[in-house]
Amino acid sequence: MKECINDQIYLKTEENVAYLKELLTNNSDVVFRNFFIGKYSCALVYIDGMGDKILLDDYVLQTVMLRGKYISDVNQIKDKLLTVSDIKEVKKMSEGIKSVLSGDTFMFVEGLDGAYVIATRLWPARGVSEPSGETVIRGGRDGFTETIRFNTALVRRRIRDTRFKVVSRSLGVRSKTDVVFMYIDDIVNKEVLQEMTERIDKINIDAILDSGYVEQLIEDNNMSPFPQTENTERPDVVAAAIYEGRIAILVDNSPFAIIVPATLPNLFQSPDDYNQRWIFSSVVRFIRLISIFISLILPSLYVAVTSFNTSIIPTKLAYFIAASREGVPFPAFVEAIIMEISLAFLLESVVRLPKPIGATIGIVGGLIIGQAAVSAGVVSPIMIIIVSITAITSFTTPNYEITSAFRLVRFILIILSSILGLYGIMIGLILLLVHLCKLKSFGIPYLSPLVNPNLDDFKDVLIRAPLNLFKSRPKYMGTSDKIRQR
């Protein structure tokens, strides 16, 4: 997989150019421009579409070709002639080639035992807009784009501290994707930082196409349905996480940032909770918790209650359910599975459909087919209610991955409840709890701060305490700097 590139930069421009032309044959978008600065022969190499031609024309070529005759020494070119702000000298050919492939311009000068790399990265990029998957009521409307420099800028705007570090790596043998981790030096948990750095350095893959690849290669346990890292498109979420002592990883070409380590309560928080007043946020958090619980157990509870222990529900409800299930051909368990699967089909297809059709299909699929199924007597009306409540409550979490994880768990709970009734549901929930207990994210238990509780940490889990009580950082993170507010 490793590329074999000659590392040496020749003194003669023609040799360099010839080498590059051979290396990059069959590439019609590489541009070679030979010119003279005074009496020195030079060449520019850049990629059409990725290099900023205007910068090259105005600030490099114009200057050197008009003023080049005043230069006496080769080494003065960079310091006294080139009116470009970002230029560096490289000694190795491979570095320069990598820069060219990233959009910079490689400049050879005759007689120089190195070459210059001029930063001319410019490509078509999306403008900053609100991420569609994470909308908030109150908060910034900017979101990450695919260019890593813009993303780091967005985060930097929120953290103007000298102790804020932006460390970069290059991952992927062929893709050489820029990966950047950001943290605040005197807050971060040093062990987590070291663990994460080790894991990233262990990655040896040919291409990193998206931050998802990085996430999957560094996470603790890839057999678990629960994500052990948080991902977000919002810079304010990233900044808040960094302030808590966590580390953010940005990957080029991906608008999704990874935040490490992540605990389950973290995945249930949204920036809305902090930007709004605490009473309302606490109520919203509480609603979220209840709705997740309902979405998890409602279909299995229905199956357990109707098939196994009917004495739990009020008598009138029992009669009603029994009456509405008369004539339905399938037992409750099969009904629940059918509805669960059709909900999954619907969700998947709505994501793939083009926007104008997508909305219609949602309505058609949901309402009309459901209604038709009830009228035909295939499904009982109670089931439709249950499925719609489940669907609505499962989307209250701010994080999509948790929703999918819980969907899977819900499916398993339905199966368990059809075998052992209420006991099955309890077993499923206990297994889920144990699994969550076992899970760790980079050394921090997944269920912190509910385990090893410090009373302080509870102010952010079930409710959101008033902001002036947020005096110290979360203790479970083991941060070096503990005080947030006085």
Binding site: Y423, M426, I430, L433, G443
Partner: protein, 368 residues
């Protein structure tokens, strides 16, 4: 896995409570009422005090032996072979108590929730889940205990509030109108309900802040005692001592009789059964892990994971041995109670005394 795992004070507190409060909660008012009528609460307080005494002995034993694990303590004090025998018998005691527990649990489950499911199936499922839990190691178990603590006790307190409507607290009279011999006869019930705190032999060596040991254990025993007294008082208030003596599981029947007009959940028995499952599981997995740990240390196996495979068939067979609940109760009678007392009280006491007498009692190897 982090080798430096340290249990927090709350972890110790929650683990002891959760490992002790188990299936006994649901049946002990019956036995107490049979012997002492309305004075069961007094018996419970005595039981709590005695348990705390035993806990102090255990703590002293651990302190004297430099907080090493239990098997090592036994081996150091009695020599390799005899120490292993004692450790093994302790493990056998754990296995017996687990078997009794599983059988009782499954029988009651069948009674209230699942009438036709075969007992073997339920036992196998319960065992497999126990296996999955203990594969996570000690830190998973402690975390599970901590969460289970909240999940168990908050609903019970809520349920007790709901019972206030139905209860008549004058049923608690007359007080102290029994012959002393009856009190003595009812003391063994305490063994059944306070048994479980020996888990601290496993956990305390890992405790982070060792100076808080006495406080944590004192708080946990007090909590358990208060909880049991409350439940007993409420069963008396809802039923009188006569019904209490007749019903096999007064606590369950008491919760079943909650009736809030107009509420969504008309009959609470399903809810209480689910809570009950959690009560049982915590007791079970703590015992399971402890016995696996002992076997691992006795036979010097590399990991706990192999030892539980050894234990599983024994539990299964022992659980299926009694014919029915009444035989199970006999099983749980004098023989098992004395076995329990020997294991958790006498053995540590003798070891401690031996340690005091022989000068070389201190040098235990600290935990691996």
């Amino acid at each position: 896995m982090n080798n430096k795992y340290a249990v927090s004070t709350f972890g110790v507190f929650a683990s002891i409570i959760v490992a002790t409060v188990g299936i006994g909660t649901f049946s002990y008012p019956n036995e107490l009422s049979q012997f002492v009528g309305t004075d069961g609460w007094f018996v419970i307080i005595i039981g709590g005090a005695v348990s705390y005494g035993i806990i102090l002995i255990l703590i002293k034993l651990l302190q004297k032996n430099n907080w090493s694990n239990f098997t090592l303590i036994l081996k150091n004090n009695y020599g390799n072979f005899v120490g292993s025998i004692f450790a093994l018998s302790f493990a056998i005691y754990c296995i017996f108590s687990m078997a009794i527990g599983i059988r009782t649990f499954v029988e009651v489950m069948r009674m209230y929730l699942l009438e036709k499911t075969p007992t073997e199936f339920l036992i196998v499922i319960t065992l497999l889940i126990g296996v999955y839990i203990i594969r996570g190691g000690l830190d998973t178990i402690i975390r599970f205990n901590e969460i289970a603590f909240w999940l168990m006790f908050i609903p019970i307190i809520v349920v007790l509030f709901l019972l206030l409507n139905n209860s008549d607290f004058t049923n608690l009279f007359p007080i102290m109108s029994n012959k002393p011999i009856e009190y003595i006869k009812s003391l063994p019930v305490n063994i059944y309900i306070f048994k479980g705190f020996e888990i601290l032999l496993l956990i305390l060596p890992f405790m982070k802040v060792k100076s808080r040991v006495k406080k944590a254990t004192f708080c946990s025993i007090t909590f358990i005692m208060v909880f049991y007294v409350l439940i007993f008082i409420f069963t008396l208030a809802v039923f009188t001592k006569y019904q209490n003596s007749v019903l096999l599981w007064p606590t369950i029947t008491m919760i079943k009789s909650i009736n809030i007009p107009g509420s969504f959940i008309e009959r609470w028995d399903g809810i209480v059964m689910t809570m009950w499952i959690l009560f049982y599981f915590t007791t079970f997995i703590n015992s399971f892990y402890f016995s696996s740990d002992i076997i691992k240390n006795v036979f010097n196996l590399k990991e706990t994971k192999l030892s539980y495979i050894v234990i599983l068939p024994f539990i299964y067979l022992a659980a299926l041995y009694p014919e029915n609940l009444l035989e199970l109760n006999d099983f749980r009678g004098v023989f098992f109670q004395s076995f329990t007392m020997i294991m958790i009280a006498l053995l540590p006491l003798i070891t401690l005394i031996k340690g005091f007498m022989s000068k070389a009692g201190g040098g235990g190897i600290s935990n691996n």
